[in-house]
């Protein structure tokens, strides 16, 4: 099993956000997690990746047999867990190229592989950059420095392509994108589907799922998965919204 989450309770500061979440992901599967703002979607990604302040209360998360909670943030990453951020942060002055090279080589080192030379990496990076339709000068620019919202999202997908993680969580990689950018992101993800690697696609809208076809769709509400199904569940959400969950829903435009 790629991922097994059992009865996960987690809190942020004093507030319990995830309240008994269960999820199983097999190698090669794509799972979509949908739900209203504030449901706990981003929290799930942060708890899995080990962000400070997001604490496990009870339950367990296993990836490929490893108890993730036993591992440091970078160790989880080195074991193949990748999070595409909802709000990617800027690192001024550190070139994207340098950052990604260090990252790829840190992963390689953890696997006992030789570091890539600058030339080898440059070749890969150029291809990935083209694939997400960013001009090549984005490799030289500071990490996310002055990038538009859409460019940041595409930059995350570029990293996904370069790192080839076993399990990628995409946290609203579609929000704020126009249809062309959405296709670029979707194509980027689809190009990485190889029947072994798994994806958790977190989204507020059904739109992205027209382009990335999920194997399963889960509805997360108030920290638990309230409904699971196939791709048709996403269509259902599109027509009915989240009102049927029986609690007041914040504006969909808020994009929290």
């Amino acid at each position: 099993m790629m991922l097994t989450i059992k009865d996960l309770h987690a809190r942020v500061e004093d507030k319990v956000i995830l309240k008994g979440l269960n999820l199983e992901v097999k190698p090669g599967e794509v799972h979509a997690i949908m739900g209203p703002n504030g449901a706990g979607k981003s929290t799930l990604g942060y708890v899995m990746s080990g962000r400070d302040g997001y604490e496990l209360v009870s339950g367990s998360i296993e990836m490929n047999g490893d108890d993730l909670m036993e591992l440091e943030i970078e160790e989880r990453a080195q074991k193949g867990l990748f999070l595409a951020f909802q709000y990617p942060v800027e690192i001024p002055g550190v070139s994207n190229m340098e950052f990604m090279k260090e990252s790829v080589n840190a992963m390689r080192k953890a696997r006992g592989e030789e570091a890539l030379t600058a030339a080898e990496f440059l070749k890969m990076a150029k291809e990935a950059c083209k694939q997400v339709n960013l001009p090549l000068d984005f490799l030289k620019r500071g990490v996310n420095e002055g990038f538009s919202g859409g460019e940041k999202k595409r930059n995350e997908i570029m990293q996904l392509i370069l790192l080839k993680p076993a399990l990628a969580i995409l946290d609203e990689s579609d929000s704020g994108l126009d249809i062309d950018a959405l296709k670029v992101v979707a194509d980027g993800v689809n190009s990485q589907r190889d029947g072994k690697r798994s994806f958790i696609v977190v989204t507020h809208y059904q739109r992205l799922l027209d382009f990335i076809e999920p194997d399963y769709v889960h509805i997360l509400s108030d920290g638990v998965i309230v409904k699971s199904g196939g791709p048709e569940l996403a269509k259902e959400v599109e027509s009915t919204g989240y009102a049927w969950l029986g609690k007041p829903v914040e504006s969909e435009e808020a994009g929290a």
């Binding site: 400070d52 970078e74 999070l83 690192i91 002055g93 950052f99 260090e102 840190a106 500071g142």
Partner: protein, 478 residues
């Protein structure tokens, strides 16, 4: 997360070893006799001794400045030894083969091979050990171009007219407390003269090493770039790890005559003291350049060491259209204190200056930028742009900015921008999520912050500066 950052920057000091070298060292204490003996050891002409004594008498009447944002116990100037030289240097070795191998090993350990064939091609080095210059490399090659690069003690004897004309012309004897002390007791340092129209064929550099216990280092550097000439010079410094504080009070004078250009870079890595603030070098330095018509003086400094840094490399933009630049990275950690910045004195018309200061504070350190931009009455159309950025690592450190602007010319333009930022938890999380450990993450973020300054360093040293910063930020992550 900030706790982890703190640990990541707990530093180890690589240059902290002591060399077993027999030295002739003066007993501690300072009076006119000591100055006479220094002058005698250096075989100086009478005028030089007289100059020293005048400075000493002026110094006796001066007060140690206390306006800087620094806290330290007053220095006892009678407890310091003012001269120390390896015994083996007494007979003035004629070539590198005659130099004590232990001295050569010391520099090799510091990554400064003194054998010309092993050196970085294109960089000439003057190696100063405590109070004397050990060796100056590539001298013949430089002489072919007419460039003089030698210990200042030698220049005083060989080129007295040049030295006499320029020494003290930029930093006068009585300029300030530490400069006056230096004038009285300076022991060695480098002298550079680039003749008219000559572009110096290689980078020049001086490497200062303090080894002897309780010894002050008072070096003096004088660089004269004659009309239309060009030179790039780099200074590096280290000292052993000791529990006692040691004083380093240097003076650097730059003279850029019409149309000349001097680029002066410093990578300063004196021992900073331990995490509790015990030991370390007190670095009180006066650096100033005078820029004549159409000339340019550029200071670039990367300051990572010293317990205390008090240093304001300055430019007097005397000639019309002259240009002054100051690019600085100052990193403080542990209990280090830095009060550093620059002075840009605009006297000529259309003079231009640029100041880029990057202060990085970590641990319990304190990092102050102090800068003066002065527009004289004749500075028509002069411009200054100042950018002053502080990066805080953790929440126990402090950054201060003290910009002073004095303008007596309404046509002059002064711009000042300042920012303060933190290595954020978000940035650390992103780096770690991409597989990097905390140390690598901090060093990468800090290097990015300093990029604008690093790109001003000569190529060979930009890499070294980046590495130095990385070592400075190195430690175990818990």
């Amino acid at each position: 997360m900030s706790e982890q950052i703190e640990k990541a920057i707990a530093r180890k000091y690589d240059a902290g070893f002591v060399s077993e070298i027999e030295s002739d060292t003066f007993p501690p204490g300072l009076d006119e006799d000591v100055i006479r003996r220094i002058s005698e050891m250096k075989n100086e002409p009478e005028w030089m001794l007289e100059w020293r004594l005048q400075a000493y008498r002026a110094w006796l009447k001066m007060e140690e400045p206390d306006w800087a944002h620094l806290g330290y116990e007053r220095i006892d100037y009678q407890s310091i030894s003012y001269y120390s030289a390896p015994k083996s240097m007494k007979d003035k070795p004629k070539s590198l083969d005659e130099v004590d191998p232990e001295l050569i090993r010391t520099y090799e350990k510091l990554g400064i091979p003194l054998h010309e064939q092993k050196m970085l091609a294109g960089v000439a080095v003057d190696a100063v050990f405590d109070s004397v210059s050990v060796v100056t490399t590539f001298r013949e090659k430089l002489e072919e171009a007419g460039v003089i690069f030698c210990p200042i003690s030698e220049a005083i004897q060989k080129y007295p007219e040049l030295v006499k004309k320029y020494i003290g012309s930029v930093v006068p004897k009585g300029d300030n407390f530490f400069a006056a002390l230096n004038c009285a007791v300076f022991t060695d340092g480098s002298f550079v003269y680039i003749p008219k129209g000559v572009r110096c064929p290689m980078e020049l550099s001086t490497y200062f090493r303090i080894n002897e216990l309780n010894t002050g280092q008072f070096e003096r550097t004088l660089i004269v770039a004659d009309e239309g000439s060009h030179v790039s010079y780099l200074e590096g410094c280290t000292a052993p790890q000791r529990d006692e504080n040691q004083l380093h009070a240097a003076v650097v004078e730059l003279v850029a005559l019409d149309d000349a250009e001097i680029k002066y870079s410093t990578v300063q890595n004196w021992y900073p003291g331990d995490e509790n603030g015990k030991g370390g070098i007190y670095n009180f330095v006066t650096k100033r350049g005078i820029a004549h018509k159409n000339s340019k003086i550029s200071w670039t400094q990367v300051e990572t060491g010293s317990a205390i840094t008090w240093k304001y490399p300055s430019c007097i933009l005397k000639g019309d259209n002259s240009v002054g630049e100051f690019y600085s990275v100052a990193l403080t950690r542990g209990r280090q204190q830095a009060d550093t910045g620059t002075k840009m004195i605009h006297l000529g018309k259309n003079t231009k200056s640029t100041i880029v200061s990057k202060g990085i504070s970590a641990g319990h350190s304190s990092n102050a930028y102090r800068g003066l931009v002065k527009m004289g009455p004749g500075a028509d159309g002069a411009r200054n742009h100042t950018e002053c950025d502080s990066l805080l690592i953790g929440d126990k450190c402090a950054a201060h900015t003290f910009p002073y602007i004095e303008s007596s010319n309404p046509s002059a333009i002064v711009e000042h921008e300042a920012t303060t930022s933190k290595v954020s938890d978000d940035q650390m999380f992103l780096c770690k999520q991409r597989g990097l450990d905390a140390e690598k993450a901090v060093s990468m973020i800090v290097n990015g912050f300093c990029k604008e300054v690093f790109k001003e360093l000569p190529m060979e040293f930009a890499v070294e500066a980046g590495k130095l910063l990385e070592i400075s930020l190195e430690g175990s992550v818990g």
